[in-house]
């Protein structure tokens, strides 16, 4: 994308000053695209979340605004923009005003490095994963700011909890990322995806037992970093009224929510990239080669297909995160720390070293075969768990209610 743009600008033979302007324009265009994507995605996800949550509670969820309530997010957003912007007297006003934007920026900037498909990435950084983890850490500053400046004890407790939680969980998530990086040998997100294949046994999640473990650790820690249940302590509704959001109303509150739902995408996209094969299409061993080999419409189609695959995987993960949120209770704050330091960090180290060991094993004479067996066995295990799950679900449906009823839209 970027190369294309610069080729164009060179063909126009722009002056240096004009070139600067063109670059600025390029930045504006790209951020507008990403921003509109983020806004729409965040809104639609909020609708999806409410509908899914509704069905899990055997109710329906919003279905009055637009077809099936699809425009609910617009109503919510518009209403919040029209609300009075309350800034209480006693708050630290500059910080109070600034915090929502910081939270939003932290999540929003991460989108720059996310790979949406083969070659579809705003900035193909060679330290992509490092950049993403670093920039999302901005969120914690925003939340701490919000909690402190609100001049409300519940807010402060929420902010401090959030800081403790996010900073601690950076460690296991970093360790889990490292165990993948050891396998891929690079920090570039595109290259990490390129190191995997299209089929489940080619993904890094089933690469070896340690990456499987790392997957769970990463999933849990990134949930904690995104303040999602069971780790939504900073905004725990039943304990700290609304945590750091207690004093926020109207537009500023919406910005926090934008950030939260956009973060849902960042989380899921990262997991897809690192563990679930990213945009790799099943059956296509070398997408780069295929794309390089064709021209014109075929090339576009291949790239589009990769985007579709990536989106599909990410959306499944988004669903899983929503599903977990509406199932589990939340942890206590000390249990959260215990879980991090006593369970995740040791296992994270184990994962990193284990996958390093596995790289060595795979390079040994018999390694290729052993690796294949391990990968297939792990994939089989995953399939077995899925089968058991389906069985359990069917039993549940049969036990309490006789007819099997499936209608997504009500």
């Amino acid at each position: 994308m970027k190369e294309l743009f610069f080729e164009l600008s060179q063909s126009w033979q722009l002056e240096p000053l004009e070139m600067t302007g063109a670059i600025a324009l390029w930045l504006v265009v790209v951020s507008a695209i990403v921003l509109s994507f983020v806004a729409t995605f965040a809104g639609v996800t909020s609708w999806v979340e409410r509908r899914v949550a509704g069905r899990m509670m055997s109710r329906i969820g919003p279905n009055r605004v637009g077809p099936q309530g699809f425009l609910q997010w617009m109503a919510d957003g518009l209403k919040c923009f029209l609300k009075e912007d309350v800034i209480p007297n006693e708050v630290d006003k500059p910080l109070f005003r600034f915090a929502p934007y910081l939270v939003f920026t932290g999540t929003f900037a991460a989108f720059a490095a996310l790979p949406f498909g083969y070659g579809i990435v705003a900035a193909d950084l060679n330290i992509g994963i490092f950049y993403v983890t670093a920039i999302t850490a901005l969120v914690v500053i925003g939340i701490l700011m919000a909690g402190w400046s609100s001049n409300n004890k519940w807010s402060l407790l929420g902010g401090v909890r959030s800081a403790a939680q996010i900073v601690s969980y950076e460690i296991p998530s970093g360790l889990a990322i490292l165990s993948v990086v050891v396998l891929a040998g690079t920090l570039n997100l595109q290259a990490i995806i390129a190191g995997q294949g299209g089929f489940p046994w080619d993904w890094y999640i089933f690469n070896n037992p340690f990456t499987l473990m790392a997957f769970f650790i990463f999933f849990a820690s990134i949930l904690a970093e995104g303040n999602r249940t069971p780790f939504d302590l900073p905004e725990a509704e039943s304990e700290l009224v609304a945590g750091y959001l207690t004093e926020y109303s109207g537009m500023r509150f919406v910005f926090f929510f934008f950030g939260e739902w956009a973060n849902l995408w960042v989380m899921s996209a990262l997991i897809t990239t690192l563990f679930l094969g990213g945009w790799q299409i099943p059956g296509v061993a070398d997408l780069a080669g295929v794309v390089a080999g064709v021209q014109g419409a075929a090339k576009t189609l291949w790239i589009l297909l990769s985007v579709v695959v990536f989106f599909a995987k990410t959306l499944v993960l988004v669903f899983v995160v929503i599903w977990i949120r509406w199932t589990l209770p939340r942890l206590r704050v000390d249990q959260l720390m215990v879980m991090c330091w006593k369970y995740f960090v040791p296992f994270g180290f184990l994962c990193m070293m284990g996958s390093a060991l596995f790289v060595l094993i795979a390079q040994s004479p018999l390694g290729e075969t052993v690796h294949l067996v391990v990968r297939l066995a792990l994939t089989g295990l995953g399939g077995l768990v899925l089968l058991l799950f389906v069985r359990r679900t069917i039993l549940n449906v049969r036990e309490l209610q006789d007819p099997f009823y499936f209608k997504v839209l009500e």
Binding site: R55, W323, L328, T393, N396
Partner: protein, 204 residues
């Protein structure tokens, strides 16, 4: 949390199995019918007709059946019913001149309808009465100035009574309808006990 190494690993196992079961339960609800009754518009029969006839909704009065015994007013612990009966000195016929029910006070306990000898006072299954004006919550079954002769039950004959589950005249009006000017009201609420003795003779 845990004291031994065994506990440590048991915790991990328990966490996985219990979360597995929990997720299976919530997931299975995606394949079940929601229990929501889409109340105002997307249902086949109105909710009022789905309710059991016993349901204690808003009080309704068939003034034609009222024998003017004033028992309902006396039974009500709150005084949310207000009746007045006058006697025509010439014909000796008694007339009901006032039968008001303040449903903003009513606690739907069913004591009045139980004590009513003819079934003139009863609970309907109607419940839609939300309104913007407090005045609309006072239902006047006898219009001011109207005189309705009391009912004289015939022995051995059952009182006709209102048909079951028939919605009463809605107490609800449009929210912004201007309140009727009535000196009887203080801040939009009908004053009850302290408004001095009414001119009509009380039958008691």
């Amino acid at each position: 949390m845990s004291s031994t190494v065994f506990d440590y690993f048991t915790n991990i196992r328990n966490a996985f199995t219990s979360i597995f079961h929990g997720l299976a339960v919530t997931f299975s609800y995606l394949f079940r019918k929601p229990t929501t009754i889409q109340y105002p518009d997307r249902i086949d029969t109105p909710v009022q007709q789905m309710l059991p006839p016993l349901f204690r909704g808003i009080l309704e009065v068939d003034v034609g059946l009222c024998i003017g015994c004033n028992l309902c007013e006396k039974t009500c612990p709150l005084g949310c019913l207000r009746t007045a009966v006058v006697r025509d000195p010439e014909t000796n016929q008694r007339y009901i001149t006032r039968f008001d029910v303040d449903i903003s006070k009513c606690m739907v306990c069913g004591l009045c309808s139980e004590n009513c000898p003819t079934g003139a006072v009863r609970h309907s299954t109607e419940f839609e009465a939300s309104t913007a004006n407090m005045v609309n919550l006072v239902i006047r079954y006898v219009k001011p100035g109207e005189r309705i002769p009391v009912h004289k039950p015939v022995k051995g004959e059952e009182s006709p009574g209102l048909p079951q589950n028939e919605p009463i005249a809605r107490a609800h009006k449009e929210w912004d309808e201007p309140p009727p000017v009535d000196p009887d009201q203080v801040r939009g609420r009908v004053r009850w006990k302290n408004d001095g003795a009414p001119e009509e003779e009380q039958s008691s």
